[in-house]
Amino acid sequence: MPLVEIEGLRVSFRQYGGKVDAVRHVSFRVSEGESVGIVGESGSGKSVSCSALLRLLPATAEVEATTLRLDGVDVLKANKEDLARLRGRSAAMIFQDPMTAFDPVFTIGHQIAETIRAHRKVGKREALAEAEQLLLRVEIKNAADVLGYYPHQLSGGMLQRAMIAMALSCRPKLLIADEPTTALDVTIQAQILQLIKRVQAEFGMALIMITHDLGVIAETVDRVVVMYGGEIMEEGAVTDVFEAPKNDYTKTLLASLHSRFEPSKGAPDTVAPALELRGVAKSYHTRRRSGFRVVQGEFQAVQTVDVVLPRNRIVALVGESGSGKTTTGLMAMRLTEPSRGQILVDGTDISQLDPAALIPFRRRMQIVFQNSYSALDPMMTLAQIIAEPLHIHGLGTPREQTEKALNWLERVGLPRNFGNRYAHELSGGQRQRVAIARALILEPTVLVADEPTSALDVTVKAQIINLLKQLQAELGLSILFISHDLSTVKSLTDSVVVMYRGRVVEEAPTERLFAEPQHPYTRALLDAIPATNPREKRLRTFLSADEIKARTPRYTVIQTGSAPNAAPQLVTIAPGHRVEAIVTP
C-alpha cells in the first residue's frame, strides 16, 4: 500500500468576489522509502497540494478529492486528534522559509523537544538529549549551545538545518521538503540537499521534494511530478523525464536549462565606464546585547572594493550570502552611504552630491531589489507601481503613464489586466518581473539588478534574461548583475566579480573564471552548482572558512609584479583576471 495516495485532488480558495481554483485533478502516489520531486513554475500549486495532504490549508480553502490518504488514513475524514497524530509522525514538513517557521519566543531545544514529546512519551531531559543528537546529525557543530538559542540567534542556513532536525525528530515515514533551499546561497544549498538525502537514506523515509529548480530535482529524487497551472503535466522516473520529456511544458523547462547565451559583442567603449566604484567600503556600527550589556562594535560589511562596469556590458557580482553584494549595489546607487570611496557615473563622482543634484543621475541609474516582495508597495496596484518613476519625474500625463506601464507589464510577460492587481496577489516570479519593469520604464543606462531571477522558474527566467539582453543591445544598458545563480551568470554576463566576506577575491572574464578559477572560494562556489543531469549526481565536499584561508593562492613577485606581502592582496595574473593571493618574494 502506498504511503501517500492522492486521487483527483481539487483545492479552491474562497475570496471576496468568488472562488479561485488553485489545484485541479491532481493525482499521484508515493511509496515508502521513495523520493519524489515536484517541479513546476511558481504558483502552480506545489505547496498547496502538499499542505492539503496534511490539512494545513487556511480555513478559506476548500479541499475535495476522491482519495486523499496518508499512511492509510483518510485525511479528509480524520478528526483533530487523528490529524495531530498523523502530522509529524506519518509525514513531517520542512518549510520554505525557516526564518518565520520557528516560534520566536521559545528556544530551539524547546521546540524540538516539544515535537518529540508530542508523539512519544519521554521525559523532558531525554527529549532534549535526543534533540542534541539530531542537531549533531544535521551537522550543527555546537549542538549543545544551539539547544538554548532562540531562533533569531541562528543564521538562515543553521535554521534550515534545525528545521530539518525538527522534522526528523518524530521519525516520520514521509518528509516533505518545500523549497528547502530557495533562501540559501549555492554552497549552503548544496550542503542542505546533501544532508536531506543522507538522512533520508539513514532513516529510510520517503521524500517529497518541492522545488522549481530542475537542478535540485536532478540531484535528489528518483521520480518527478511536473506541475503547471494547478495541474499535473507529466510524471515519471527522473531520468526518463529529463531525457525524453513528453509534455510541452516539460520540454521548454528542460530546454531552458540547456540554453546558452552569447557574450556581449564588440569591444567595450574606451570612454569612461558607465559605473565605477573606487575603493568603496561600508562599515556598520553594531550593538550587540550580551545579557544586560551592550557591546558596541564595527562591522565591515564591505571592505575596500573596486568594481568597474564598462558601458554596454554585464558584470556579475557573485559570492556567498552576506558577503556584501547587496551593500555594494546599494552604495553604487547611493542608497546606502559608503563609509569611504568614490562612485563614478560616466566619469562623474556622485558620492558627494546632494539629493537635488542626484535627481538627474537617478533617472539614468536604476535598481532591482533582491526581495521583490518588500520592494513593491502593498497598497498600490501594479499599474501604479510601474508608472511611479514617470510620476516622480513628471513624464507624461497620468493616462500616458498608465498606458506605458501596461505596455511594460506586457514586455515582462504579464497580462495587461494585471495592472489592477496588488503585489500580494502575485507569485514571487511575477513580482520580480514587476520590479524589473519599474526599473526599466525610465530606460536607464545603468542597472543594478540584485538577484532579479532568484524566484523565477526557468522558463520565465529565460524570458527575463532575453529581455535584459535585448535592452542591453537596444539601450546600451550596462548591468551590474548580482546573483547566486551561477548558471545564469555563466550564460549572461561578460565578466564576474567574486566577493567573499566583504572583499573581492577574484575577478575575471566569465569564460575564464569558469574555466580557470584560482581562488579556493571561487572553486568551492563553482563546485556547488547543482547538476543539470540526473546521471551526474555526486557527493560533494565542503570547505570551511579556515580551509579556504589556508588555501589562499600564492604567487611570486615575478608572476604578478606586485610587492611581496604576508597579507593577501589582489594581484593581476592575466589580462582582466585578478585574484586575491599572497605574494611571496
Binding site: A84, L86, R87, V105, M166, R289, R293
Partner: protein, 309 residues
C-alpha cells in the same frame, strides 16, 4: 541594556520636570485661591496673613523652586485640607483602599479579558466573537458611574445580595471591584483578540500544526506566549490608570480612597496636594512605562539575548 535604562531614566526625568512645570503653572493660573470659597469675603488683612502662612505670597517661580526643592527631599508639603499630616502621609493613607480595589479590579479583569479575547479570536466571526466584542465595546463605552449605579441597583437594592456601598468589610469590595474590572477586561479582550489573530496568522503556527502538536497546546503555549509579550506593555500603565477611575467608583461606593482628593484638591485649590497627586501619577506612569519597557525586553528573547534589533 543598562545604557538603555539610564537613557530612559534621564528622558523620564526630563518629562517629569516638564510636566511638573506645566501643572504648576496651570494650577496657579486657575482663578480663585484656597481661601476664596467662603460665603462672605474674609478681610484683605486676614487673607494676606493666610497667604503668607502658606508661602503663597511669593513669586510663582520661587514657589515652584521651593516646592520642587522639597520634593527632592521627599517633602511634598502639608495639604491645606488636612494640615495635621503631610501630603505623603495623606496619600499613603488614602491610597490603600484605592490600591486594593483598583488593583484587584485589574488583576481580576485582565485575565478575564485575556480569556474573553482568546475565545473571540479562536472563534472568529462566530457568535462568540461578536458577543465578546460587543461586551468589550460596551465595557469601554458605558461610563463607570453608570455601571456602578446599575450594579448597586441590581445587587444591593433589588436582589439585596450585597451591601450597596461602604468600606471596611471585604464583602463591600465586590461591587466596586467589579466596576474597576470592567475597563481592563474590555481593554484586554480587545487587545488580546487582535494579538491572537495576528499570531495565528504567523507561519510558525502552521509549522506547529504540521509537527502534530495539539491545538490546545498551540493556543495555550505558543499563541498565548507570543500574544502576551505585547500585552505586557499595557498592563502597568493600565494599573496606574485605575487611579483616575477611582474618582467615580469611590464616589459611588463611598470608598475613603484617593479618588475624592483628585477632585477636591483641584476644587479647593489645595496646591500642595494637587501638585503632589499630579506628580505622583506622573511619576507612577513614568515608572510604569519604564518597567514595561524592561519587562518587554526581558520577555522578548530578541532583545534579551541580543542579536539583530
Amino acid at each position: 541594556m543598562t545604557a538603555h535604562i539610564i537613557r530612559r531614566i534621564l528622558s523620564v526625568a526630563f518629562t517629569f520636570i516638564v510636566v511638573s512645570i506645566i501643572i504648576f503653572l496651570m494650577m496657579h493660573s486657575v482663578p480663585g485661591g484656597p481661601f476664596d470659597a467662603n460665603d462672605m469675603p474674609v478681610s484683605e488683612a486676614v487673607r494676606a496673613k493666610m497667604m503668607a502662612q502658606w508661602g503663597l505670597d511669593q513669586p510663582l517661580h520661587v514657589q515652584y523652586f521651593n516646592y520642587m526643592w522639597g520634593v527632592l527631599h521627599l517633602d511634598f508639603g502639608v495639604p491645606f485640607q488636612s494640615p495635621g499630616e503631610t501630603v505623603v502621609e495623606l496619600i499613603s493613607r488614602a491610597w490603600v483602599p484605592s490600591l486594593i480595589l483598583g488593583g484587584s479590579g485589574v488583576l481580576i479583569g485582565a485575565p478575564l479579558g485575556i480569556l474573553l479575547g482568546m475565545a473571540a479570536a479562536l472563534n472568529r466571526n462566530t457568535w462568540i466573537d461578536y458577543l465578546a466584542s460587543t461586551l468589550a465595546t460596551l465595557g469601554l463605552t458605558i461610563p463607570v458611574f453608570v455601571t456602578s449605579m446599575l450594579l448597586i441597583l441590581i445587587f444591593a437594592v433589588w436582589l439585596n445580595w450585597l451591601p450597596a456601598s461602604g468600606w471596611p468589610q471585604p464583602n463591600r469590595w465586590i461591587l466596586p471591584i467589579a466596576c474597576y474590572a470592567a475597563i481592563p477586561l474590555a481593554t484586554y479582550a480587545r487587545y488580546t483578540r487582535s494579538a491572537v489573530l495576528d499570531t495565528l496568522n504567523r507561519p510558525f503556527v502552521t509549522v506547529l500544526r504540521a509537527k502534530g502538536l495539539s491545538e490546545r497546546r498551540i493556543v495555550f503555549q505558543h499563541v498565548m506566549r507570543n500574544s502576551a509579550i505585547p500585552l505586557v506593555t499595557v498592563f502597568l500603565p493600565m494599573f496606574i490608570g485605575t487611579a483616575t477611575g477611582s474618582i467615580f467608583v469611590e464616589a459611588m461606593f463611598r470608598v475613603p480612597g484617593l479618588g475624592a482628593y483628585f477632585v477636591s484638591s483641584i476644587e479647593v485649590r489645595d496646591y500642595t496636594l494637587q501638585m503632589a497627586l499630579m506628580l505622583l501619577i506622573t511619576f507612577m506612569y513614568c515608572l510604569a512605562y519604564l518597567l514595561s519597557d524592561i519587562a518587554y525586553a526581558l520577555l522578548n528573547p530578541r532583545i534579551r539575548v541580543g542579536g539583530a534589533e
